[in-house]
Every structure is written in C-alpha cells, then in structure tokens.
Symmetry: C2
Subunit: 187 residues, 2 copies
DNA sequence: TTACTTTACGGAGGTAGCCTCCGGTTTGTC
DNA sequence: GACAAACCGGAGGCTACCTCCGTAAAGTAA
C-alpha cells in the first residue's frame, strides 16, 4: 500500500535534526516559536524546513503523533478498568497532559477538531473516538451524567487544561479537572 | 488629585477615531488585529496610535474599562440577590461574556491576573475582588463547595469561556458553565 | 572512476507587522 | 499675528513568514 521510498541520506539527517530542534523550541517557547530559529539551530536553510514540513501544523503533528497513538492505546486498555469512571478520569488526565505539552497547543487542538483541513484534525478525531467509548461505558454504568456529550466533556477538559497552563504553579490542570469531574457524576 | 489637562482638539479627535476603529478591528479580527490597520482605517499615522496607546494592552484596557466597571457594579447589586448561588452564577455568566468580547481576550485576561505589570491587571484584580464577595456569600449560605477558591472558580469560568469560543455555535460558554457550576454545589 | 540523473539544499527576496524616533505641522494663547 | 507647547506622521530598523529557483550533493549504472 504505502511503499515509501527511503529518503536520501542528507534529507533524513536534516529531517531528524529539524524535529529535534522543533521539539526544543516548542517546549521552550510554545507553539508560536520562530521557525527560522528552528532552521537556524538545526544548521539548515529555511527552505529545507518548509520542504519537509509545509506548515507549522504538519511539524507539530509529526512531533505529537507518537504521543497521541500511545494515548489512543491507553483508551483501549482502560475500557477494561474495574471502575468506568476512574478509567475515564485517568484517561482524561493523560490526554490533558498531552495537549498541554507545548504552550498554546491546547488552542490549536481545540480549533483542529472543527477544521477538517488541519493537519492535526485526524489525531484529534481519533482522540474523540477513543474518549467516546470510555464516556459511553461510564454512562451505561450509571456513573456519569447522561446528558453530557463527549464533545462537551472534551471541551471542558480542554478548558481545564488551558486554565491550568495559565496558573503559575504546576498540577493546576489536575485540580481543575477533578473539580469539574466530581460535579459530573450521576446523582 | 488627577487634574487632567484637556486634550488639544486634534488629539482628542484622533484618540476617539482610534478607539472606534480598534473596537471594530478587535471585534472582527480578535485581539491580534494589526495595529497598523487600525491606524490606517482611522486615517492616522502609526506613530499617533502608539503615542495615545503605548501598548496593545493599554488600548484594550481603555476599550474594556466601561464594561468592567459595569460588571463590578453588578456584583454589588447581586450581593442582595435572594439566592446566593443564583447571584453568583448570573454574575459569572456576565463576566464570561465580557471576557469573550474579542477573540483571544480570555487568554490575555488570564495572563493579566498573574502579571502586575500588565495594563489589564488592575481591572482583573477588581473583578476578582468582586467575585470573591459573591463566592463567600454562597459558601456561607452552604450552597457552594467550601473547598473551592475564588481563583479556581474564576479559572474554571475562564476555561469555560475559552472553550465556548472554540465551539462553532454560540451560547456554548453558558452551557459549559452550567455543567461546571451544577457540579460545584455543596452536597 | 566517471558520467549522468534525480533529489534535495539554501538563502535571497517580497510581504507584513512591530515599535521608535524626530523633523515638521497644528493648536491654543497672549 | 507671533510664539511656545503639543501633537502628527511616516521613514526606517527589526523580525518573521513563505516561495522560488540556481546550485550542490547523493545515488546509480557503466
């Protein structure tokens, strides 16, 4: 199916250097980090960066794909957790952490869900699917309010994650998510 | 105390034109709208804009002050509401709406709370004070979880407001806030 | 090795936005 | 009408985005 031609040696080298530097830059400066800086510190021309990664989204998506795949796998595991609500909660914390990896990322992800053209859209959609099953299971067990949709829940998660990054201390997101979550129990 | 000299006629005219155009631009394009565009459409040089409003924050703060003052007044009124929880809720919805006036504003406000150097800091602080009294009243009435701080509540509000703006439809913020809020009742 | 093709590189260059600085103009006043 | 104070405007230096294409390096076959 997808028989990808192996990259030329120099191309592969540059590709990997760019990814490494991009990761550093996004971590330190947030998702708006200068791409020219990334290229510079990778010892590569700006044109090379844009050839490998036509848009900032593509670059981000490449960096995040592994993380997202892991997260999707976790959802499958947690479907077997004894307590459906705990399982869902655990997963949400994991996803919240992932979506807060770089400053400003939460925003991009929230937008990507609504924009099929975004390079991040597929990943987001996959996450939503994964969450959906956990949500349904929690509802069926009567542990979660029945009138909350997965979309709303994920938005609340994003909101908490976003708010957490605007809190000086760390672990803010988890506290906020707990507050929200305890309130969503079925009563 | 503050004896402000009256502005020269041309200065006052430009000042007001700039405010009007800035409001339009922020509404249409969000808080990152180009200031050069604002100056252009106000028929004024970019230097004039920067003289009147040294930073984007100052410009925003000027535009928002009225709204914020109104909101603070509402808090005082709502301290007399019959149901403390309803009063708090009503106020939060109002504040959430105000902080969603321009795309991207929620983010600026959330940061301004932690940055005393920001031109928006004073307004934010005033809001926090106003909220604090409503929160205390609701707690004393035993209607609100006692372990939630005003800061956390405002962050959750900001989170809901933020998430609401990333929802295609309107009125998203209110729905999200309701979900959060119902969960914070004292049980 | 060499000669040749394919793939990839890199940075100049055009666009746009930020912000500062200062020569020149307008306003208010006496 | 003349003068000082207040104010205007945009050129200019900076950074970042993204595209385009002449040049260089890697792979391949003889």
């Amino acid at each position: 199916m997808t028989d990808v031609k192996p990259m030329r040696a120099d191309a592969r080298r540059n590709y990997e250097r760019l990814l490494a530097e991009a990761k550093r830059a996004f971590t330190e400066r947030g998702v708006d980090a200068s791409l020219e800086d990334v290229a510079r510190s990778a010892g590569v021309g700006i044109g090379t960066l844009y050839r490998h990664f036509p848009t900032r989204e593509v670059l981000l998506e490449t960096l995040l794909r592994d993380r997202f795949d892991t997260q999707a796998g976790k959802a499958r595991e947690l479907l077997a957790a004894e307590d459906p609500l705990d399982g869902l909660y655990t997963w949400l914390v994991g996803f919240g952490t992932a979506s807060g990896a770089y400053r400003g990322l939460t925003e991009l992800l929230a937008d990507a869900i609504n924009d099929p053209g975004s390079a991040l859209h597929a990943s987001c959609h996959a996450m939503q699917e994964a969450a959906s099953q956990l949500v349904d299971r929690a509802k069926e067990a009567g542990a979660l309010r029945a009138d909350v949709t997965t979309r709303e829940l994920l938005l609340l998660l994003h909101g908490a994650s976003w708010a957490g990054t605007h809190l000086p201390g760390e672990r803010g997101m988890e506290r906020l998510l707990t507050l929200v979550f305890e309130g969503l129990r079925a009563s």
